[in-house]
Symmetry: C2
């Protein structure tokens, strides 16, 4: 071996929590394999942490509290597993601008400040890899950006939050309500003490922004994503889905929308939706993640696996570390990420969706025609109607064809005000089937 081939690729890590600890372990345990796969050894030169005494398992020589000095130390790449916006943002911008490549698992940072980070990487040519930011160990961004680079992606639809999927799977299995199921998920360790980021859809929205950016070559930020969480869901919603052979999932949906004039835009949204039980996403249970992709030539694809966990996320981080290291060995940086398409993000109100509406109505002549008239007035076409009487009350279930979300929402608002409608039992979007 020549001297160059023995010169290590140097790596510094920012943060050493659940994921960072696993990255350090794997770098050590897999050292021989990584060297063989890369062509040169990898050396971890330092880890920036706030409280070094909390990391007794790490060689103290590696630990530092001076993250800036570590970023400036001239390493080949920085692994960022601090999470959150600051100081991660400033440290990564500093690294990228100086030509130091970055591997990060930080979905919030990418979803809020992706354009700034990509611009910094472009300015120096440094690599910016972030496979671990979406769906943990599931290879997803690399397939979207590379494997499907010659195809035209029309839709990415996935279950990308394990906590909410656990809660919804449990509600579907037990018939229990939302609050008690979330409590149980917390007791079992499937939900954080403060589950807001999960149940209100912030986590899924950040991932949707990253997925849409990669799929559609367009910069989409978290604030562009229409977001609804699961905290408003009731046992009645889940039961209503079951009655129609469907199940409720919190979906991140990124779609290419072509309007009548041929103009293209992207719709990026996170909301609960009913999907048919036969849909590949329906059987994704518990804390698993899965993402369904539709492309013009490739057809339907699905990627499935564990979306969270220290070791799982570390696997994705290490894959990126090897990629950056191989680029260094091959002589520089990898191909650039492109955002040439610059498609506008479509407002939710103008996005075509389908609704399921379940109503309790008075069981008397003319009610169905009153209800149907409200749909017709909003130009919303009805696909399925099921009416079932019980004494003087009837249950009326309607599923629409595709219409603008705003028209569907107005329809529901108007229905709620009809004297014959006693209660709007459940309103939910329908996905995963032909309109």
């Amino acid at each position: 071996m020549s001297e160059v081939r023995n010169t290590p690729i140097t790596v510094a890590m920012l943060g050493c929590g659940t994921v960072g600890g696993q990255v350090a372990r794997l770098l050590h345990e897999q050292a021989d394999d990584l060297t063989a796969r890369i062509g040169r050894p990898i050396r971890l030169t330092g880890i920036a942490v706030r409280r070094p005494h909390r990391h007794p398992e790490i060689d103290p020589e590696l630990l530092t509290t001076d993250a800036e000095a570590l970023v400036d130390s001239g390493v080949d790449l920085i692994v960022e597993v601090i999470g959150g916006i600051e100081p991660a943002r400033s440290l990564l911008l500093r690294a990228l601008k100086s030509g130091t490549s970055v591997v990060t698992a930080n979905k919030a940072l990418l979803a809020e400040h992706g354009p700034e980070l990509h611009a910094a990487a472009d300015s120096s040519g440094a690599d910016l890899y972030f496979e671990a930011a979406v769906a943990g160990a599931i290879p997803l961004l690399r397939p979207l950006r590379e494997s499907l680079a010659g195809d035209r992606i029309s839709r990415v639809m996935g279950i990308v939050n394990g906590t909410t999927n656990y809660v919804l799977s449990a509600m579907d299995a037990s018939g229990s309500g939302y609050a008690e199921t979330l409590d149980e998920a917390g007791r079992l360790g499937y939900a954080e003490a403060d589950p807001t980021a999960d149940v209100d859809g912030f986590d899924a929205a950040a991932k949707a922004a990253i997925l849409a950016s990669s799929a559609f070559h367009t910069r989409v930020r978290a604030e562009d994503v229409h977001r609804e969480g699961i905290s408003g869901l009731s046992a009645a919603d889940v039961a209503a889905a079951q009655l129609l052979g469907r199940t409720v999932k919190l979906l991140a949906i990124c779609e290419r929308v072509v309007d009548q004039s041929g103009a293209e835009s992207v719709s990026v949204r996170v909301h609960p939706a009913m999907i048919p039980r036969a849909h590949p996403l329906a059987s994704v249970g518990g804390a698993f993640n899965a993402v369904f992709v539709e492309a013009e030539a490739a057809g339907q694809l699905m990627f499935y696996g564990q979306g969270a966990g220290g070791a799982q996320t570390a696997s994705a981080v290490l894959g990126d570390v090897v990629a950056v290291a191989r680029n260094r060995v091959a002589g520089g940086y990898g191909p650039r990420e492109s955002a040439y398409a610059r498609l506008p993000v479509r407002p939710m109100g103008e996005t075509p969706t389908r609704y399921h509406v379940s109503l309790d109505v008075a069981d008397r002549t003319g009610v169905l025609s009153q209800v149907a008239l409200v749909f017709a007035e909003h130009d919303v076409s009805i696909a399925i109607v099921r009416q079932e009487g019980r004494s003087d009350e009837a249950s009326l279930v309607l599923v629409t064809h595709t219409a603008s979300d705003a028209a569907l929402r107005s329809t529901v608002d108007k229905l709620a005000g009809l004297p014959a409608v006693r209660e709007v039992v459940s309103v939910m979007r329908v996905e995963g089937e032909e309109a």
Copy 2:
């Protein structure tokens, strides 16, 4: 734009059948997007075919019958979609040795002559990409080689042949026998006129060799793969699986095996097996493909999609074309493929497997103990026994724990010779559950 940025990446194609026609179409239709994604335009400079008059849809200026001259024409990359061994092998070796990168969908060639092709690529540094060779449009080789490059893959198990999966799904649904189901598949276009390559497992074995090579950084060739097809399967086998809540699939299995001394080897095999109905692969129906991957840190992953079809395979080819083109724009070739591990391939007889055995036995005292003794004599431990009498005959179903395949086979041979055993109704391996 500078002159360099407008200089096209030149592509020549060998063959223009179902896949090639779609590649040509997509290169044309997606030209603007491809240019933006790559940073330079792509130009198709020629297509070598045997009979130019059979391609009226292609610009005649592009067509040539002189494949060698096209290979020597100085293009940036060659797309090979001829299939088969010769002349593809000679043409690709010629291209790679001269530094021309290659994208191929040719699984038979890679599985039989992979080492030779990789050596030629290594000698010049040229890129050799072949995502389309396994599981059509499903991104699989790139995730194995890149996304999981920092992890340790323990198993790759998949449904990689659509024809046999269609036949097995139909047998499972209808209870029909093999021959009539294959006939029907042929009538519906799911099986070729000569289905040998599919039903005898040759196609799946070639894919298994390619998957094992990528997953374990070891060159595995088609001839190293233990291969059993589905033509010996009966309705009784499928019914026996159903009785235990299982279903029968033709699986390609690539496993890392560590023996008691700690020595590592790989087992690569294609055979029918029973898997639990709850296993993610069990619900993969019809002509779909899916591959299940287990890695130490990433845990369980699954990749699902359409494994065949012109457009689907072309999508994978185009993804590789973009990758090679981006490498050219970035200044050369991509990182090298590594086969450093050089793990030995374990003979099937020494591979740990589990068997399901269904017997018709005489219903008299002592039969179960005779049968159990045969297992014990071969050091095979029994996990499940179910006996059910009907008049003077009984049905006896046994599922073993893990043992060497040779010990299991000897056990079955010995059982078949026991006077009390009237018929061996079904023998099949069991996969996808803890032993």
